[in-house]
Amino acid sequence: MNACCETPAFEPPQAPRSGGLSTVVLIGPPNSGKSTLFNRLTGLRQKVANYPGVTVEQRMGLMSGVGRDDLTLIDLPGVYSLTPYSEDARVSVDVLKGKMPGTPKPDAVLLVLDSLHLTRQLMLAAPVLALGLPTLILLNMSDVMESRGGKIDTLKLAKELGAPVAQISAVHGSGLDAVPLFLNQCALPPAAKKAEQLLTLPVLGNAASTHRWAAQVSRRTGYKAPLSAENSRKLDSILLHRIWGPLLFLAVVIGVFEVVFSIGQPLSDGFGDVLAKMGALVRPLLPAGWLQSLVIDGAWKGISSVLVFLPQILLLFLFIGILEDSGYLARAALIADRVMRTTGLNGKAFIPLLSAYACAVPAIMATRTIENKRDRFATILVTPFMTCSARLPVYMLLIAAFIPAKTFLHGFLGLQTIVMLGLYLAGFVAAMTTAWLLKSSILKSSEAPFILELPQYRMPTLRSLGMRLVDRAKVFMRQAGTVILSVTLGLWLLAHIPPVPGPGGHYTAPELADSVIGKMGHFIEPAIAPLGFNWKVGIGLISSVLAREVMVSTMGTLYGADPETQTMHLQNALHTDMTLGGAVALMIFFAFAMQCTSTMAVVRRETNSWKWPAVQFAWMLTLAWTGAFAVNHIITALFG
């Protein structure tokens, strides 16, 4: 009865590994919980969420979560069948068949099926079992199935499929003992095998016959589907209601930003004070002179001016996490589909675009779920317009410095929130307009079908949310410790050369305006003066091409290096040095410009040409310059 002990026929004879097992692969339909299980089995933190298509490329990890450091586990994008339909599914099929260069051929398969919809999910079992690899079938979310009155006879199912079957809950980590047990069995010599039962599989590749087979198997093995989730339907009747649906969607978005400001701002201010105190504590420990200036006024001021925004960014990610894990995101996609189709964008583009609110890089990779190449390229090209979290420090700094904290509607809606929402909206409108331009010209294609599976609502777990926040904080700190630190040190250096002879024959730092960096800033000033930017902002625009948040650290360093503004809070320093028009124009510039080398690199990789990132950079820069120019003049004319 146990197919898992069978030595695969195509095992390369020249590689008799100890135990005969080294690579295990996770496969299953989309949103069946493979990545959650992957995290459990490896102890890693692969991104998970409650919508189909979160994983778009294979990930590998050692199975240390179950004490098997000797085994590599591969997590794959979800597939419905082994007939690849999109780019991400092709990856899964290639890895599974051992055709993926650079990825080891799997020796055993863990097939993850969602036990809530077993009949349909069993359709994937047919082609996977036909591969002839030792396979363990894991029926995930079995706790939910049982609590809703579903039933399944795992022994009968195992007999029917000729492969071991176990019920698990990846979220709660129950039933996972079956995995090491299965792996041990696989390592046994073939002699220990029991007599194989003949497995009748349907004609492969024919969906109708596969479905009939799956239905028969589930009937014969006494599968009782759980009652459909009444709660999900009830929730949907409100959240997808004609009037309440869009209103609640809007309320959710506004609410998130209100909280990010009203609770996040004091947190960030407090955190900023702590960081400043830490700098003040270290200052006397360093000898007065260039070292003190480099460490405290240069590096620490630069880094802490960005780090300050950590609490607000974590708050935002907490909300994004709740929305993603609960299953609301797929509903939002449904609500927004009308807008998407007006622009000609593929309906599937919505989820990558939404995830671009965190970061454009994974979002661009998530476009692999879009089958049509032109649709996919159009989505890739507009994704960087979505307001990623790296813009947040820039917006927050400028908003806190220039926009008064007025409130409307009895304090429920703040002017600062409105400006922030306006910036998000500006990015969204730019994305949609660009998409429309692309889709009605160079990337025209016939309309692709929109097929979206609505997952059932789930309560987000604290574990999953906590893991997201820890990961996010790590990414943010790493960025601060690498890119931002090096740019800051470079800037400090350029701000202090060439040394000028001072009194008593000592060489001292030049006036900031006479330093190398000051000369560079003044050189580009004519190009940006019409936007209301001074030369310091110009330096920031150049350095932030590396990453947007570098803008803030650059400002921190430059104003920190300038004796006039050295003692000031960065907000106040900016306030004395810029007009309102220039500040708003700067935000608009950041809303549109492509200030991120990581994004350009990923666009090049995904489109396999330098042409697209170049076009994208030029278009976004044009829009940014024009937008900032217009805004600067309008604001200056209105508020003078």
């Binding site: 419905y80 919809h117 349909r120 009939r212 009782k224 649906g245 009308r338 097929i451």
Partner: protein, 110 residues
């Protein structure tokens, strides 16, 4: 004979065939859109399109163009003539209820 878009919200029909390009058809069939499956129109998105259909215990949203190419047989299409139509209209509610109960029962015993 009608298509999926003809279904009123709450109405259930039996799927006959899909008239779609092979790749899309194959994909939909793996999501449960196979002949003889029972499809219920669950709700429309706030903008009126796409529509969410319940099939095989799953909820799947389809745009109008796709749903138009899926042929179904309405489960209430048996009655003919004006009187019968009038009668079936009266009976529609009861029948729809009974239908869902039967399907739930069938689903439960399957």
């Amino acid at each position: 004979m009608s298509v999926l878009t003809d279904l009123r919200i709450g109405e259930t029909a039996t799927l006959i065939a899909l008239d779609l390009p092979d790749s899309v058809q194959n994909f939909l069939m793996h999501m449960g859109f196979v002949p003889d499956a029972q499809v219920t129109a669950l709700r429309k998105a706030p903008a009126g399109d796409p529509t969410v259909y319940a099939i095989d215990g799953m909820e799947i949203a389809l745009r109008r163009e796709t749903a138009q190419s899926i042929r179904v047989r309405s489960n209430t299409e048996t009655a003919t003539g004006a009187v019968a139509a009038e009668l079936s209209k009266i009976a529609a509610n009861t029948r729809a209820e009974a239908q869902t109960e039967i399907h739930e029962f069938a689903g439960a015993t399957r």
